[in-house]
Amino acid sequence: MAVLPDLSVDIGGLKLKNPVITASGTFGYGTELTPFFDPSLLGAIIVKGLSLKPIPGNPPPRIAETPCGLLNAIGLANIGIQAFIEEKLPMLTKIEAPVITNIYGHTVKEYADLAKKIEKVEGIAAIEINISCPNVEKGGMAFGTDPDTAAMVTGQVVSNTTKPVVVKLTPNVTDITTIARAVESAGAQAISVTNAILGMAVDVTTRRPKLANIVGGLSGPAIKPIALYLVHKVVAAVRIPVIGLGGIMDYRDALEFLLVGARAIQVGTANFVNPKTAIEIVHGLTDFCSREKISNINQIIGGLKTI
């Protein structure tokens, strides 16, 4: 029998056995989908975005479906970093895949405090910073829309941890490359592109917004072309690895992101539609490489032919 292709990738010092990661907020606290497959088989797991204090989240309705997409305004509901470490992490450490915590704060200091807390904890392999949330000190514009603020958040986290730091960018900017370069300069080991895109929907019968929060984040296949373009741009702008996500539903979608240069990919909304998506992508990439006689996945990454 043929030798299995090598799917392992290196994300800023973090070694993954394959490039398939579950996206924050779409995989619970990491163990909920074990009835469907063993998460140890994934490249890594990113858990629900965590804040210093527990957050109840937004009033319902929190979700609305749009053509090939999902709008959500969960309001970053989470149990808080402390409860996560005490109640969820012990179960997670049994999983033989790196666990990445996704964090967000309302102020730069909150990000720093989260980094300090996580630094002391074993069993967390890396930190992903969500900078798509409103900066309460700066009038509510997202941290990730301004290069200086993005760099400041990144710098504060990097200087308070020895773990690899991934910065997850917001797509809602004029030029994503300026933000990407800013966080790279500030010490990020990798960049995730993209978070959900701002959107809204209206129920014409009730004449109300479909989300109680009015505005939400759009994810799912609808945004795939936009996400792919942003990844393509960021890959060209920075040297650090880029993790691609946005609308990935199967291994062919994953390949699109790898071809434009993503070193790994994340599966988000697809987990809701088919909870086995992530593991099926691992299998799909393995089969694809075998079929195409590709011994190492790195041969595909950035392999887009443009001439």
């Binding site: 907020g25 779409t26 995989f27 619970g28 909920e32 989908l33 009835p35 469907f36 629900k48 109840p56 989240g57 937004n58 009033p59 319902p60 309705p61 929190r62 979700i63 609305a64 479906e65 053509p67 090939c68 997409g69 999902l70 959500n72 969960i74 509901a77 799912g220 296949p221 539903m249 909304t269 987990n271 809701f272 539609v273 088919n274 909870p275 086995k276």
Partner: protein
């Protein structure tokens, strides 16, 4: 909880916009409890609509036949209704908590509005099998056009009463009228109420139950993305004094003791 790919045994229109779907699954049939639900995939051919759709388990028959009773209300249910015998779908389940069954001493009153009948049929199946107490079932529909599954319910031996809003079948009125009438009848032991239907109906039931200090369970239909507890999309506001600000319909429910829910904002 399993994901299974099943071939439809049948999928037929049985009323105005109302369809009954049947497939065989020993696994689901043997594990399912009344009040639990399935997340049904709409087929591999399209990504629009994107998400699975939640449906109550309507009943189990012949040991392994699982039934879903559904209303065609939008794009997703319209796609489902186009499926034919032998077509393949993926279902995930059984999900959620299910109804807490009455104690042997208790009488159950089931109250359904429209397709709220869906999970109550299964509950009636199970309770009637027990043969401890005859189940009382009150069902309300807009018109006689939407009335379905009556013969099958009668076959179960339940004690059935009907309302229609236009009076075209059964008693003219809404289903909670029947409940009112029954509850004003002080003679009998305190019943447990099981209700499923539109939110205003459930709210009325909850209020009556509170007033009369009755135990009552409501099955809610929140918007769901995953049904698996991972998206936190299906929040409902918990009643004042509960330990959590929100409950999640797919995990903490879909069945709730009516006192747990904040009915002001539902």
């Amino acid at each position: 909880m399993v994901e299974e790919t099943v071939a439809l045994k049948s999928n037929q229109q049985i009323g105005t916009n109302i369809w009954l779907m049947e497939f065989r699954s020993t696994l689901l049939a043997s594990h399912a409890k009344p009040g639990q639900f399935l997340m049904v995939h709409l087929g591999e051919r399209t990504k629009d609509p994107l998400l699975r759709r939640p449906f109550s388990i309507h009943g189990i028959q012949d040991g392994d036949k699982v039934m879903i009773l559904y209303n065609v209300v939008g794009a997703g249910t319209s796609l489902l209704s186009a499926l034919k015998e032998h077509d393949i779908i993926s279902v995930i389940g059984p999900l959620g908590n299910g109804f807490t069954l009455p104690r042997p001493s208790e009488k159950a009153i089931l109250v359904g509005g429209g397709t709220g009948l869906a999970p109550l049929f299964f509950l009636a199946q199970v309770l009637q099998k027990d043969q401890r107490n005859t189940v009382t079932l009150f069902l309300g529909f807009p018109t006689s056009q939407e009335v379905v599954r009556i013969q099958q319910l009668k076959d179960l031996g339940v004690n059935l009463s009907l309302t229609t809003e236009d009076g075209s079948l059964g008693i003219k009125g809404v289903v909670t009228d029947l409940l009112d009438q029954r509850l004003s009848n002080k003679g009998t032991t305190k019943p447990v109420i099981y209700a499923c239907g539109p939110p205003p109906m459930l709210k009325t039931v909850a209020q009556k139950a509170t007033t009369l200090s009755l135990r009552s369970y409501v099955s809610l239909e929140g918007y769901m993305a995953c049904g698996l507890g991972i998206c936190l999309g299906c929040a409902v506001k918990a009643a004042h004094g509960e330990t959590k600000p929100y409950y999640y319909v797919c995990q903490d429910g879909p069945v709730f003791p009516s006192g747990m829910i904040d009915w002001e904002v539902l």
